[in-house]
C-alpha cells in the first residue's frame, strides 16, 4: 500500500454523531478521516475521496448504494467488501446493536481494521447514550412543568393546599396505574375544557 495510514470515510445522516466518531478516531491516532452526509451522487464522491475504510450508520438507506461496490464494476476501480471478521461474530453483533457498519477495500488486513471498527462502535454507543440521557432529562423537565401547572390549577380553582393537590394527583395516579405526569395532563385538559 502506498500510504501506511488507512484513509477513513464516515458516512452518517447525523452530522453530530459523525463529528463524535471522527473525533474518536483522530484522538486514537488515525489522522486521515473525512465525513460526508447523505448525497445523491454518493459513489462519485466516494471515488473522489478513495477511502480504504468506510464507516456508515445502519439506518442509512445509502447502504444499498454502497453494496454495489461489492460487485467489481466499471464505476469503482477498487472492490470494496463489508468488514466481516469471521473469527469474531461477537463484534458483528456489537456493531449491529450499535447501529454501525464498516466496509473495507478488499485485501486490507483484518487486524488493521478491527481497532478502527471497535472505536466506531464505542463512539456510536456513547453518542446514543448521551442522546438518550438528554431526551430523558428533557422529558423529566417537561413532566415536572406539567405537574406544577396542574397543581396550580387545583390550588386556584379547588382551593386545595399545595400538598393536598399533589397528594390527590399522586393517589389518582396510583389508583389508575398511570404516570403522575399523565394525570397532571388530564387535570390541565379538564380545566382547559371548562374555560
Amino acid at each position: 500500500m502506498a500510504n501506511p495510514e488507512p484513509n477513513i470515510l464516515i458516512i452518517d445522516g447525523n452530522p453530530d454523531r459523525a463529528a463524535v466518531v471522527e473525533r474518536g478516531l483522530v484522538e486514537s491516532g488515525w489522522v486521515r478521516v473525512s465525513t460526508i452526509g447523505p448525497s445523491v451522487n454518493l459513489l462519485a464522491r466516494i471515488q473522489a475521496l478513495a477511502p480504504d475504510v468506510i464507516i456508515i450508520d445502519l439506518e442509512n438507506p445509502d447502504r444499498d448504494t454502497l453494496e454495489q461496490m461489492f460487485q467489481v464494476s466499471r464505476v469503482v476501480q477498487r472492490p470494496i467488501a463489508m468488514f466481516v471478521d469471521q473469527s469474531d461474530s461477537q463484534m458483528i453483533h456489537a456493531a449491529i446493536d450499535a447501529g454501525v457498519s464498516a466496509y473495507v477495500v478488499d485485501g486490507l488486513r483484518q487486524d488493521r481494521i478491527k481497532p478502527i471498527v471497535e472505536t466506531a462502535i464505542t463512539r456510536f454507543n456513547a453518542f446514543d447514550r448521551l442522546r438518550r440521557e438528554r431526551d430523558e432529562a428533557q422529558s423529566k423537565l417537561q413532566d415536572r412543568k406539567l405537574v406544577e401547572k396542574a397543581k396550580g390549577l387545583l390550588m386556584k380553582h379547588r382551593g386545595l393546599s399545595e400538598e393536598d393537590a399533589y397528594t390527590l394527583m399522586r393517589r389518582t395516579a396510583m389508583k389508575q396505574n398511570r404516570k403522575l405526569s399523565d394525570i397532571a395532563q388530564s387535570v390541565i385538559t379538564a380545566f382547559e375544557m371548562e374555560i
Binding site: P38, V40, N41, L43, L58, E59, N60, P61, D62, R63, D64, T65, L66, E67, Q68, F70, Q71, R74, V75, A81, M82, V84, Q86, S89, I92, H93, I96, S101
Partner: protein, 335 residues
C-alpha cells in the same frame, strides 16, 4: 409467551402480510409472539438475517437465493422459503428529457407495446455514442432484486446490453425521484409509489410496467434461517398458517382502508394512507401464489446467471432451488 418469532421487513407496501399477522392477532391465534422489525435498507435486513438478529425476514426473492449461496456480501446463510409474500408492482420511470428523445427518435415504436419501447432507447443510445456523449445511467433498488432483472430484460428486448451500453447502479427508492430531478440518473426501476411520485411531480414518465415485462413474476418471499427453522418446526408451521390467514385478510377489499391506515404508521411504511391504498393493488398475491413454486426459483437463478451474478451448472441450480424453496413445508402446515 415463550414462542417469540422475530421477522425483519423492509418499509414497502408488500410487508403487509407479516405486519397483519402480527397486528391483527393471526400469529397470536397460532400461539406465536410475532415481532416485526423494520430495516431501512436491504443491506441492513440481510445483515440482521445473516447474523441471527432475526429468525426470518420479508425479503427480495433473489436476495434469499444469494444469501443462501454466499454471494450476497456476507458469509453464506442457509435459508428456507416456506411461503411467498408478493409479486411486486414495479415500473420503469424515465426522465422527461429521455422520454421525449425516445418519442422523437422512434414515434412508431413508442406508440407500440411498452415491452418493446427500449428499441426507441436503442436509437437514442446510438445517437449519443456517435456524438461522443457518456452512457446513460439507470438505477434499481438492489443488485439482487427483480427490479434489476426486469430492467435488464426490458433493455435486452430493445437490443440493449445492460452491462456495456448503459450504467446500472443502486439507489434507495426514497432518493430516486430527487436523483432523477437533479439529472444524476436518466431512469429507474422501482416499486410504487416511487414511479407515481415522479409522474405527479412532473419529473418523469412511466415507460413500462412489470405487467408488460414479467407478468405474475414472484418478487418477495418469507425467508427463514434454516438453523432456526430446523430447531423450531412447530413455530414454522404456525407461522405459515398465520401468514396465510393474514394474506386472506389483507386480500379482502373490505379491509383495504384499514390495511392502508395500519401500514401508514411510522413504524411500518410511514407514507400517507391514501397513497398506500392506491398502491395496494397487486401487492397481495392471489391465494395460489402464496405457496412457494420452485419454478420461480429456477427462473430467478437463470436471471441471476444472465446478470453475471451467479455461475452454476444446471444441476447445481436445481439443487439450490430445491434446498431453499420449500413448498413441502407450506403443504404440511396448511394442507
Amino acid at each position: 409467551m415463550a414462542n417469540i418469532v422475530k421477522l425483519g421487513f423492509a418499509p414497502l407496501v408488500d410487508c403487509a402480510i407479516p405486519v397483519v399477522a402480527a397486528e391483527k392477532g393471526f400469529a397470536a391465534a397460532e400461539g406465536l409472539d410475532l415481532r416485526v422489525e423494520r430495516a431501512p435498507s436491504w443491506a441492513a435486513l440481510r445483515d440482521k438475517l445473516a447474523f441471527g438478529l432475526v429468525d426470518g425476514a420479508h425479503i427480495l426473492a433473489p436476495l434469499a437465493l444469494a444469501l443462501h449461496q454466499g454471494i450476497a456480501g456476507v458469509p453464506a446463510t442457509p435459508l428456507l422459503v416456506p411461503v411467498s409474500l408478493g409479486l411486486g408492482n414495479n415500473a420503469i420511470t424515465l426522465s422527461l428529457d429521455l422520454y421525449e428523445r425516445m418519442q422523437a427518435a422512434a414515434p412508431e415504436v413508442m406508440a407500440g407495446p411498452p415491452a418493446l419501447r427500449a428499441r426507441a432507447l436503442r436509437s437514442v443510445i446510438d445517437a449519443d455514442r456517435a456524438a461522443g456523449k457518456p452512457p446513460l445511467s439507470f438505477v434499481t433498488v438492489f443488485h439482487f432484486s427483480c427490479h434489476h432483472y426486469e430492467l435488464l430484460k426490458w433493455l435486452a428486448d430493445g437490443g440493449i446490453d445492460g452491462r456495456s451500453d448503459v450504467n446500472i447502479g443502486v439507489i434507495a427508492p426514497p432518493r430516486m425521484v430527487e436523483s432523477l430531478a437533479a439529472g444524476w440518473i436518466d431512469g429507474y426501476c422501482a416499486g410504487e409509489p416511487w414511479n407515481q411520485r415522479a409522474v405527479q411531480r412532473g419529473i418523469g414518465q412511466v415507460v413500462v410496467t412489470k405487467a408488460d415485462i414479467r407478468p405474475d413474476g414472484l418478487e418477495k418471499v418469507l425467508g427463514l434461517r434454516a438453523d432456526w427453522a430446523e430447531e423450531h418446526p412447530a413455530q414454522v408451521a404456525a407461522l405459515i398458517r398465520a401468514i396465510v390467514k393474514a394474506a386472506d385478510w389483507s386480500r379482502d377489499p373490505a379491509n383495504r382502508a384499514e390495511l392502508a391506515r395500519l401500514l401508514a404508521g411510522a413504524q411500518y411504511v410511514g407514507l400517507p394512507a391514501d397513497l398506500i391504498e392506491l398502491t395496494l393493488n397487486g401487492a397481495i398475491p392471489a391465494p395460489h401464489r402464496n405457496r412457494p413454486d420452485t419454478a420461480d426459483a429456477h427462473r430467478l437463478l437463470l436471471e441471476m446467471t444472465a446478470a453475471e451474478q451467479l455461475d452454476l451448472s444446471e444441476a447445481e441450480r436445481g439443487a439450490l432451488a430445491a434446498a431453499v424453496w420449500r413448498p413441502d413445508l407450506y403443504d404440511e402446515a396448511v394442507g
